[in-house]
Amino acid sequence: MSRSQFDDDEILGKAYDATLVRRLGVFVAPYWRRLALATALMFGGAAVELAPPFLVKQAIDGPIAARDPAGVLPLFGLYAAALLAAFGFRYGQTYIVHSVGQQVMVDIRTRIFSHIQRMSLAFFDRNPVGRLITRLTNDVDALNEFITQGTVALLGDLVRLLFIVITMLLLNWRLALISFIVFPAVMLASSVFQRIMRGVYRRVRQRIARINAFLNEQISGVLVTQLFNREEQSRIRFAELSRDYLAAQLESNRTFAVFFPLINFLSVTAMALLLYFGGQAVLADVATLGMLVAFIQYTDQAFQPIRQIAERYNTFQSAMASAERVFRVLDTPATVVDPDHPRSLPSPVRGEITFENVWFTYDAEAAGPDGSGLADSDDRWVLRGISFTIPAGQAVAVVGATGAGKTSLVSLMARFYDVQRGSIKLDGIDIRELRQAELRRHVSAVPQDPVCFSGSIASNIRLHDDSISDEQVRRAAEIACAAPFIERLPGGYEYEVRERGSNLSVGQRQLLAFARAIAFNPEVLLILDEATSSVDAETEALMQEALARLIRGRTSIVIAHRLSTIRHVDRILVLHKGRLVEDGSHEELLAKRGYYYRLYQLQFAEEVRG
């Protein structure tokens, strides 16, 4: 099914746990000191916790058996001290480990986020937002579990188990060996259990990611769902996804439900064995009765870390399932990258744009790095052999039918994608040899879909660039003709814009996006992609006058379907099915009687007919 193209949430088969742990280790390593301290505390805690049963044994065998109540007191003091120490150790350990976990989460999240920021737009075309968010939220949370449960605590359990085993061996190796008879069975059960859980956890992760992706899209498009009476179908689809998730969860629960009672049973078996064989040992005077009692307690204690280890191993599994996905994002190479030795633009930048035989397709994989994977006649080419030069300071319009490739063409200038064949040059330098940040400082593009962010109007105009003053924001808004509507809003420039600008009209959003482009004051190149398509004609005319002053001396590229929008330009490029079919001034093109002429006739004819 074609859907799989967008779905890489499939279950990964083979285990790379060791590699994953090593890679996670890189994130944890900077905090090794704190973890070492936590480990020390943990050792202290484990050691101190051994004291109470031993003290009980001492009390029973000593003062109590000797009917000497006063003798209990010093033991009591020791007992209390051990308790306090255990409290301090455990609390300290928990806090430190969690603080490291939280810190590592910040690091990993920021790292994933930063990496995603560097991805080219092709990555975002492919990955639903909901899925990316799952990587940042649920998956990172699972990694946190790995740190809080899988590092020090796991070590702690192992050590605790070891201590108990050693103590038992030292106290009475015969009784100890009796308790250990069940250990092989415990290991067998655990390993079977883990094998099952591994798959289950991966399924759980995969399914929650699907739920998130679906949810995100449904929440964003809820109005369309409502208007088209599709609530029922959405509900059904969601229930399907949710049911898959439920099935995985129930499976995991059943596995647990078998495993824990089983381990418990084994622990009681050990106890029974101790009673039977140990009882004979007491008889044979190889062990005291107190010793036997202590051993029964030790065995019980030994099973606590065993149970814990099994449980921790599960959080570990779950973390590994997440780690796989997280690293898969981190391992996705950026396809649009800065060169190792970037060149810089000559200063001052003039703004001459050259396209040299540019071929471009969104299916970069099929085309291969040099574009030889696709035949020239392939439908997948969006731009086919485009060549032109825009001298510095020229105002150019790109026109063409919808889907002709106009937006694609200008996306390439901002290097949102890389071309497969040919090259694009700014002032004679291939834009692939420039740093993206530098390129984009000189190139300002108002995208076809105006985007607003939640925040104030002012922050929508200046984004995070604090070097743009309030005054500049205001001026940009005035030039963009956005000021009149902004000033009417309650709060003016502090008016709270909602997600995606849902509390502004579409035209207002375009004006805002326009103001943003002006505030950023691109040095050479301004690209307007249908930037005024939803703005009324009067406002548009005002904008154009302001703009005409602004772009004087700068290279500008305007895409518009309304021919009236492009009347200022020096030159017009006509795109048709990815090819540049006409190129010239308004008059020249009219004289040619080609596509532009027909387009012009049509609009004009329509408007006089009324």
Partner: protein, 607 residues
């Protein structure tokens, strides 16, 4: 506990399962309590009578049998109780989603998508963790505590009294620490929603972020949000990290007392060594459930905080809903009338201009546009009538209220004054689904789903035949584009249609609306990204389709609306002119100006 009554409807369905689970838990606990008892007899036997081999064998066998029975019961407990929590989780997720689908735009504009998602996933798991492992633990530990206490009393009332008197101390601590924990956890979750919102907005606006090279600044902001999350979490851990150790401490203290007092009793001959051992064994048995109790407190606090966040959605009443007494079988014919309609938006949350507004400060469920002066009329005194089959053109400046006006018809919002009537009925009295079924709406802001184009086009009409689909594609002029796509009409498109061009998206939305075969067709600036040539073709195609149907067309270009039976000009939310194209031109007002401007420009270009 009050927030938990919202949970009851979900829990009720599974009473039986829970009851069985509880019975299993009880039985398992009772059985488990026998184990120390058996050990005790064995030890006492050993002490007094020396070893009799087959007695030891009997004890051993008994132990194994008990453990086996316990195991089976525990299996029951886990599958029933925790299994139920997963079922409830599923039900609640479904209910939440179903609720979201009924909520109105008023709600969605005030909430963030990322935050809503957090509520449906993370918060829900917090609740589930309490309901499942939490309750299971609580039940197990309570029962164990009870039986252990009873047995202790039977063994030695004095010692038992000490233990039982000391335990409630723990409860007090839990309540004190727990209360603080819940407050902080709510903040933790809100901050988490904030992180998710940041990411959500960034990813969906990535083109703009990149265009202005804002990546580094975005990373900085994201890191800051994360740092705040970390700080809050540390405050939480400061408390939650204390729970377990403190319980250990308390149990230990009790153990110490038992040793001290019990030791004396044994010394005084009031108690056997076996009894003391037994007591210690019970105490050891208490350790685990009491620790689990601490964990449950932790889960409870998180669950309670999250449940509040979930209830805020679940308890929210949709502002737009079908009235209960709506006529059953209503079919829209297509007559539309607006009677003195007025509408204003509530600006109450934005009045303070707090741009860092916390999602937690999201409006209360029943926010009303009540703050005087905080809301302005966006539409006022709107009256017009379109007979069935008539057409209406709406023009007006950016932000004049055109979109808001047509939204009233499909009940995206309800007016604050006046009435919107369809076929003579106030839309608020009509069944919502039937009303919307009669309307084909092409919103100004195109939204497509990331499913194949075919599914997008048939979105409002899943049962459409191939012929109907082909017709809709032909009218919307999408056919040519589709031919070029690798999989034709079955090509999968990206989220929100990102892999389509602007015009292709709009035309898909047009195809989607006309395929519905609606009585009323609304085009809100639906040709803005389509070139004039294609637009003309689409309009010509629509003209034949619209015969006999009511249509409302909003446009920035007069050419698009001039053939309408009636045109209204909106200005600052009021109708300033109305009439046919000809009448309006004759009036020489705003409309004539607009027209002249367009014409003038066309002529200018001609020269």
């Amino acid at each position: 506990m009050d927030q938990f009554h919202h949970l009851w409807p979900f829990v009720r369905r599974y009473r039986r399962r829970l009851l069985i689970g509880a019975l299993c838990a009880m039985a398992a606990t009772a059985v488990a309590a026998m184990i120390p008892q058996i050990v005790r007899f064995a030890v006492d036997d050993l002490n007094t009578r020396g070893v009799v081999l087959d007695r030891l064998l009997q004890y051993g066998g008994l132990l194994l049998l008990t453990a086996l029975v316990e195991g089976v019961l525990r299996y029951g407990q886990r599958t029933q109780i925790i299994g139920t929590s997963h079922l409830i989780d599923f039900d609640m997720r479904e209910a939440l989603f179903a609720k979201l689908l009924t909520l109105d735009q008023g709600f969605f504009t005030t909430m963030h998508t990322g935050d809503l998602m957090t509520r449906v996933t993370n918060d829900l798991s917090a609740v589930r963790m309490f309901l499942g492992p939490g309750v299971s633990n609580l039940l197990g530990s309570m029962l164990l505590l009870l039986t252990a206490a009873t047995l202790m009393f039977l063994t030695n009332p004095t010692l038992a009294a000490i233990v039982v008197l000391l335990l409630p101390m723990a409860a007090v601590l839990f309540v004190v620490i727990g209360g603080r924990m819940r407050v902080i956890f709510r903040k933790v979750q809100d901050q988490f929603g904030e992180i998710s919102t940041r990411a959500q907005e960034n990813f969906s606006g990535i083109r703009t972020i990149k265009a202005y090279a804002q990546e580094d600044a975005e990373i900085r902001v994201f890191r800051e949000a994360n740092e705040r999350y970390r700080a809050l979490n540390l405050r939480y851990v400061l408390l939650s990290g204390m729970l377990w150790p403190i319980i250990g401490l308390m149990l230990g203290a009790i153990g110490a007392f038992v040793l001290l007092v019990g030791g004396r009793m044994v010394a005084a001959g009031e108690m056997t060594v076996g009894e003391l051992v037994l007591f210690n064994a019970y105490l050891a048995q208490l350790a685990w459930p009491v620790i689990a109790l601490g964990w449950t407190v932790d889960l409870y606090q998180q669950g309670a905080a999250s449940l509040v966040r979930i209830s805020e959605v679940l308890q929210r009443r949709p502002a737009i809903a079908s009235p209960p007494d709506a006529p059953r079988d209503f079919v829209v014919r297509g007559e539309v009338e607006f009677r003195n309609v007025g509408l204003r938006f509530s600006y109450s949350q934005s009045a303070n201009g707090d741009s860092s507004a916390h999602p937690a400060s999201a409006p209360s469920p029943h926010a009303q546009p009540s703050v005087a002066g905080a809301s302005e009329w966006v539409l006022r005194h709107i009256s017009f009538r379109i007979p069935q089959g008539g057409s209406l053109g709406i023009v007006g400046a950016t932000g004049a209220g055109k979109t808001t006006l047509v939204n009233l018809l499909a009940r995206v919002r309800d007016p604050d004054e006046g009435q919107v009537l369809v076929d003579g009925f106030d839309v608020r009295t009509l069944p919502l689904a039937a009303l919307r079924r009669g309307i084909g709406y092409v919103p100004q802001d195109t939204f497509l789903f990331s499913v194949p184009i075919r599914e997008n086009v048939t979105f409002g009409r899943p049962d459409a035949t191939e012929e109907q689909i082909a017709h809709a594609l032909a009218v919307s002029r999408l056919v040519n584009d589709i031919e070029q796509f690798p999989n034709g009409i079955d090509t999968l498109i990206g989220e929100r249609g990102v892999t389509l061009s602007g015009g292709q998206k709009q035309r898909t939305a047009i195809a989607r609306a006309i395929l519905r075969d609606p009585a009323i067709l609304i085009l809100d600036d639906a040709l803005s990204s389509v070139d004039a040539h294609t637009a003309a073709e689409i309009l010509a195609g629509l003209r034949s389709i619209m015969k006999g149907r009511t249509s409302i067309i909003i446009a920035q270009r007069i050419a698009t609306v001039k053939d309408a039976d009636q045109i209204i000009v909106l200005h600052n939310g009021e109708i300033v002119e109305r009439g046919t194209h000809r009448e309006l031109l004759e009036r020489g007002g705003r409309y004539a100006d607009m027209y002249r401007r367009e014409l003038l420009r066309a002529e200018l270009e001609e020269e």
